[in-house]
């Protein structure tokens, strides 16, 4: 079976699973874990957009 993901979808899937693990392992209570997981996901995806814009500006 071959999976073909675009760069963005691969980054989003990566961010989702990494955020789940970070949330569970780095915080104690359930609500803190959910908040930290969402925070990590936002940073991952935000970082993708930021890096994308930086690369687009460099390319010009």
């Amino acid at each position: 079976m071959t999976i073909n993901l675009s760069h963005f979808s691969a980054a989003a899937v990566f961010a989702l699973f990494a955020s789940v693990v970070f949330g569970i392992t780095q915080r104690n209570s359930t609500i803190e874990q959910v908040r930290y997981g969402l925070y990590c996901f936002a940073l991952f995806v935000g970082g993708v957009f930021l890096a994308g814009w930086v690369m687009a500006l460099i390319r010009r």
Binding site: F14, F17, A18, F22, T25, N28
Partner: protein, 143 residues
């Protein structure tokens, strides 16, 4: 310059710091957690966390294989290959299964395969973090 530590402050630090004795479970839980992703948490009756960790690590590993990611072998020779092997071996039984079934025995020929290799390595590294978390729970450092 760092302040010299006096005996008084050292005693105060040891008095406030709680002790966490090493138990059998504190050794077994991370080992099980390494072999079976999330297994350490499930063994410690943190079922929800254990299942989420299992799903996350296994999904990342399978997606990595599906993207034609490469599985590193222990005798890579190159330092980056050795680091890749350390990351891959973190997936525990998934890595052993992949080696037995000869999955991931491909060279990265395109960008997708390179992402797949990264997925495989990161799945193992995340599982190491999960195993360490199981150790902390077993010690009583974390609820």
């Amino acid at each position: 310059m760092a302040k010299p530590t006096t005996d008084k402050s050292k005693n105060a630090a040891t008095a406030t710091e709680p002790e966490y004795p090493l138990t059998t479970m504190a050794v077994v839980a991370p080992l099980v957690g390494w072999l079976i992703p999330g297994g350490g948490h499930i063994l410690l009756k943190r079922y929800g966390r254990g299942i989420l960790l299992l799903v996350s690590v296994v999904a990342m590993f399978l997606i990595g294989l599906g993207m034609q990611g490469r599985i590193y072998k222990p005798n890579g020779g190159d330092i980056l290959d050795i680091l890749g092997f350390v990351g891959d071996v973190g997936s525990g039984v998934l890595y052993l299964l992949a080696r037995i079934m000869d999955w991931g025995n491909v060279m990265a020929a395109n960008a997708t395969a390179d992402y797949g290799k990264t997925f495989l390595i990161v799945a193992g590294l995340l599982n190491f973090i999960a195993a360490a978390d199981a150790h902390h729970i077993a010690l009583g450092k974390k609820p």
